[in-house]
Amino acid sequence: MISLEKRPTPSRVWTYATPFLAVALTVIAGGLMFAALGKDPVAAIRTIFYDPLFDPQFAAYSRPQLLVKAGPLILIATGLALGFRAGVWNIGAEGQYIIGALTGAAVGLALYPADTRMIFPLMVIVGALGGWAWAMIPAILKTRFNTNEILVSLLLVYVAENLLASMAVGRLRNPEGGGFPGSRNLSQWDSAANPELIANTGMHWGVVAAFIAVIFAYILLNRHLTGFHIRLAGQAPRAARFAGVEPTRLVVLCLGISGALAGLAGIFEVTGPAGQISIDFNVGYGFTAIIVAFLGRLHPIGIALAGLLMALTYIGGELASFMLGIPAAAIQAFQGMLLFFLLAVDVLTNYRVRLGRREASA
């Protein structure tokens, strides 16, 4: 008989150890999945985790991609983690990401073909505001009408996707694009481009913003009263209310920050790696960021590391699909599995596992 005994405080050791344990278990389970698909599991895992970084043939291309992919993931996940800590569930980051990209790009395109570097910062600000405004919808509905923010923020993703489709073939379509859907290429227009800052590193302004966001989130959570309120509201909602924490303010703050950061990620993506507004420029960073937030244990530094690891699975997944013919969907399932294992082993942090019969007096 195995039983669980609640720990008085979460175990420090397991807090740090569980993400590693979860990754190890996922690699084993993933290997089994690849074997079931008829692929050599060792080669698959090696192609996903090792080759993108160290293979002489691919590393030159793959290494810069690491930051390109990790940037938006870290940016979005940092914002989401603040909310998750406070018990505010924004799962519509994908929508805020799209709207940020749309609003920012729209402002830039309205000024086309002006030749001034001031356009890019303007687009970034408007993009952040766009994501913020989109996140304010669930925030206001939650605070005014007590509507469930999980459902509203998620449903708004589908609204945003339809809006994107409409814009890519309508208002924002490139007038010189021969009728093809998609906007002008922003990355090739100097005034709006988000270029690689240091050659062959993948470092662009979005990555810079991601690391700034990590530092700010760290300071906010550890050195600031608001951060304390966020943690308190999540861990002990009743105590938080007695301590004078306003839930309304926290909901607006958490959804606002995460929306703005997702919007930022969106505008940096369309001005840089994606290059233009197209029907499917969004590749699900908003959803993967949820996994990143949990893998990083909702801690800013952890999220930075988790974002890099998750970016590696994206790049490794592409490489594995190219080299070994492993379907791209397998990587998505792999990422989902990682979240399962994380949630499962988390029990070790909060509970002690006891073998043998429980005592009646317990």
Partner: protein, 310 residues
């Protein structure tokens, strides 16, 4: 634009078809939530059911077997959620999200070889002269068996929850797991059974999408249907009868916007396509503005972890 091209008979008939996947999934989630568990993985279970049902129906050539496989697939997937939340005491919101993310990946992995294939058809039941009656014949007697199954299940679930001892036990677990545990009810076992049932129902709903409503397999084809099912449970104040109303209302909106698209309304297609989601949000707002979750009928221990000390 020619609105007279929209036939009311066909509109009502196709409304029922459009509503059925969501009705099935929402009824399953209703039972799950009544037992005090919030499973946000409906979308993932639906899409897994959609591909399991589709693949098995194509391989066996029998859609009925396909629906069984879909229910089984949905239930199996839901057991991941069940084990994690009931035995590993994981956060239900996060685990439900994980189930959706994993289900979306798994389904497109399973569906690799099935894109662009036509499934064996699920015919309308032929009820003889009844089906030939004007309007009523098409609307009431002109559907496939799954539509009727969903209606029967709606009544059965109402009866189960309200009128049977087992249903009372399930509700007791949802209202207060500690009290239920003290009374000697097996809280975990009851919740696991409810979760499996919810998974099976979501799987059936998904299979109805891929085998009847569309009928085809495309990645991500559920397009938020699982989330709308979750919203409908809230809309319905956790009552089976109102789940039916909510699902049919939603089906009506979906079908109407599709008809308007076909009739060539001056609005861009994308704006019509987003309307079901917007209306779902609007309905959620109206419902939540009327009172707290508790006063609307949400089970008291919904989403709470159960850890028996004794």
């Amino acid at each position: 634009m020619d609105l007279s091209a929209i036939s009311p008979t066909l509109l009502v008939a196709s409304l029922m078809v459009a509503a059925t996947p969501i009705l099935l999934a929402a009824l399953g989630e209703l039972v799950v939530e009544k037992s005090g568990v919030l499973n946000l993985g409906v979308e993932g279970m639906m899409i897994t059911g959609a591909i399991c049902g589709f693949a098995v129906a194509v391989e066996t050539g029998n859609p009925v077997v396909g629906f069984f496989a879909a229910a089984l697939g949905g239930a199996l997937l839901s057991m991941i959620f069940g084990v994690l939340t009931q035995f590993f005491l994981s956060n239900q919101v996060a685990t439900g999200l994980a189930l959706t993310l994993f289900g979306l990946g798994l389904s497109s992995l399973l569906g690799q070889g099935y894109v662009g294939i036509k499934p064996p058809s699920t015919p309308r039941l032929d009820l003889g002269p009844l089906s030939d009656l004007p309007f009523v014949g098409r609307v009431v007697f002109g559907h496939d068996w799954v539509v009727y199954l969903s209606l029967i299940l709606c009544v059965a679930i109402w009866y189960f929850l309200r009128r049977t001892r087992a249903g009372l036990k399930l509700r007791a677990v949802g209202e207060s797991h500690d009290a239920a545990h003290a009374m000697g009810l097996k809280v975990r076992a009851i919740r696991l059974a409810a979760i499996a049932f919810g998974g099976a129902m979501a799987g059936l709903g998904g299979a109805y999408l891929s085998l009847v409503r569309v009928p085809q397999w495309t990645e991500g084809m559920t397009a938020g249907a699982g989330w709308i099912a979750l919203a409908i449970v809230v809309f319905a104040s956790w009552r089976a009868g109102r789940v039916l109303v909510g699902a049919y209302l939603f089906g009506g909106v979906t079908v109407l916007q599709l008809n308007l698209q076909a009739a060539g309304v001056a609005l861009p297609v994308e704006y019509l396509s987003m309307s079901p989601y917007l209306i779902t949000i609007a309905v959620l707002v109206v419902m939540s503005a009327r009172g707290t979750r508790r006063s609307l009928g949400a089970p008291a221990d919904l989403g709470k972890q159960f850890h028996a000390v004794h």
